[in-house]
Amino acid sequence: MPYIPHTPRDQERMMRAIGIGAVDELFRDVPESLRLRKQLDLPEPLSEMELVAELNEIANANRGVDHYTSFLGAGAYDHFVPSAVNHLVSRSEFYTAYTPYQAEISQGILQAIYEFQTMVCILTGMDVANASMYDGATAAAEAAVMSLNASGRKRVLVSQFVNPEYRSVISTYLSGGLATVDELACPGGVTGIDQLRAMLDDSVASVIVQYPNFAGIVEDLEALAGECQRVGAALIVIADPISLGLLKSPGALGADIVVGEGQSMGNPLHFGGPYLGFMGARVKYLRYLPGRISGATTDGEGNRGFVLTLQAREQHIRRERAYSNICTNQSLNALAATIYLSLMGKTGLRRVAELCLNKSHYLAGRLCEIDGVSMAYEAPFFKEFVVRLPMPAEEVVNKLRTHRILAGVPMGRYYSGMENLLLICVTEKRTKEDMDEFVQRLGAIL
């Protein structure tokens, strides 16, 4: 049997030591009435060789972004991943370890988490960060829960141009009567400050916006933060980490909690996961922060070392009084992000961000030269933008796919009245040639 090393002789020795004549005797506590009297109905086992062939066949039934020129974004991004990332996360001392409960033989992971936390703080402008969350959406939901716990308030306002997947997850998390969730409209593509002002009062625990938002637009966080501060509501910002190579950190603009999706940093698309959420916060939220946190300390001889710390917040200590139930998170994905950011460094991340900015602006400009195509919003954008088409975006997307172009995500899938709007993403991987072909093909269709 694969992966079970025992020979019949081993098993006999063990049974003799236990004092049984058959392994079945060990299951005597399972009531007869519950014993499964049949074999599980599963496919016949495959040898390793057959498994490889079978899985290759299944994988070949997919056609990933490499098969196309992709302009898909909307929460999952086709950024370049340097080879070194995968080589390092494939070291099995990392990937076959459990959560680092025994610090002295887990210094590698614990130090990497500490470095990750520091990088999250640097990018977001926050004081503290945790070891990771499941993904950007759950990080946003847990940030909302954090704001409720810290304030005792019962209401959360979410911008309409927060990623619809995230809004859905936030609603699910808060559905148990923890809070009411109200939506803020985005006239002109940005969170409406007048409506925010009208809705904000001291019942609001937090306001959640995205930076850049779902339509790619860079929100004016400073103005939003000012409004929040007036009533003591937390400003929760969902940030694209690549954009933070160029944009001011949300912390510098007044955010209280910053979360986001870290997939862009060294993790493959993989049909949506595993990804990683990151979470940073101002220090006043430290005791409300969910999940694992690595902290520096020393051993008896004064050597620096790292441990999981502030565990009194967590489920295994506080049980039902814990602020979150998170246990296993996305450690290996966070390690990939840490390695990615180490390779990029200060200059590299900025270069990637500039490439995204330059290329998205080039494509937007070229597309708008086509008759009937225009920008949906006149607001500043980073690597994603929304264009208005003279026909339904779904139709355009379907037609361009036959030319091996994934044109983007139709906004009408998520927002009524936006059937002709298309959300387009340009990462550093798209070339001028790719974009010129897109423009030419779209022009030919319209």
Binding site: H6, I58, C121, V128, V218, H270, T328
Partner: protein, 493 residues
Amino acid sequence: MSRSTEPLIFELSSPGRLGVDLPRCDVPSVDPGKAIGQNLVSSTGPDLPELSEIDVIRHFTRLSKRNIGVDTSFYPLGSCTMKYNPKVNEDLASLPGFASVHPLQPADDAQGTLRLLYELEQFLVEIGGMDAASLQPAAGAQGEMTGLMLIRAYHMANGDSARRKILVPDSSHGTNPASAALTGFEVVEVMSNDRGGVDLEDLKRLTDETVAGLMLTNPNTLGLFDENIEEIVKIVHNAGGLAYYDGANMNAILGICRPGDMGFDVMHFNLHKTFSTPHGGGGPGSGPVAVKKHLTRFLPKPRVRKDSDGRYYLDNDCPDSIGKVRSFCGNVGVCIKAYCYIRQMGAAGLTEVSKNAVLNANYLLSRLKGTYDLPYDRTCMHEFVLSAENLKSSGVKARDVAKRLLDYGVHPPTVYFPLIVHEALMVEPTETETIETLDAFADAMIAIARESESDKEKVLGAPHETVVGRLDEVLAARKPDLRWKPRAGAAAE
């Protein structure tokens, strides 16, 4: 003793170094200040460390050497099922055909992945004795949260809104009560009886029309199969509550018995425990939920479906769904590895997994029970709980035993859990370990018990052979140092 430290990545930084080779820009440059607004653009960019590629490679390679995993050492961490992670599964999950699919590509582009997810759901349904499953939850705790939301949705749909309580045994995983509280339930603890199972009288006393459900793992966290399980589920069902099965301990019962047949209405699996996917030093995991028919319509959306032409697709038209608990479809890469494992093991193989996991645990138990206290002296399932209480007279605690084990080159058992056993040492060897490995561990445990008598300073001062000595956790919590900061006076921007 070879103590050593590794500098932080920030301490290795040297201005001007770069670890990537990026392409030149092939389109006209845009002035960020003009395009986005001076007020929103940073003048310098984030102060990330600056290193060459080889610096980064060496730093993280050295860090990896300061870590142990299943590939380096025996790892009998109770409740975590640290079995061997087959290498072929790593290769297959990262095939470009899987790794390069964007979650918003049309179903036609993702037929391979969708087929795999669809079939994995079927496998889990069969293994659990349930009717339907969702792979969306990202980890066990999220599976629990999802399951509890399903229970609430079920009661609400029946107009049964007064059910606010979730019962959990006092031996339960900490995530159980935490998940219930996060979901807005009131948590009520049920006592264990002197055999380590659920106290039926206490359960009857606590079960009434305000109870939404009971969360249980069986075998429980003591590694004991609760022989009253049918009665327990009946008590809850008779009062109108639902039964939730925490799948953390599924490695004991694959092909032997099924939560669905025990009467459970909803359960989660831990693919990173039972189905061999690596734990990654703290994730990614995957915590699929499976349910009986009466809960199917509430499962998270989208559902993976197959049409009459054999084409797979994502169905978002699920009006009764609790919604989404995570973006997209879950930790797909992890699901692929679990799928590979099940396809390679097959039904007979999975049954052998549990038989040998239970055999290994009982063998270790037989070797250790004279040396350490055994609070519940019964045949165990895939794990068992010892107590180091008998070493206390020499001042040695479970924590010290654990730290001394590090010197013997093994990962210690889970300590101080479950909470109902003092000085608990929870041992789960798994089926992938040889008798020689088990013997070496037993020998080390026995040697440490002897050292506690003969040379207790050695045990109390452990570990001696690790890169750092025993770390001061109190200091870490009292003076939190959670991020590196540039030294005062060092050149800032």
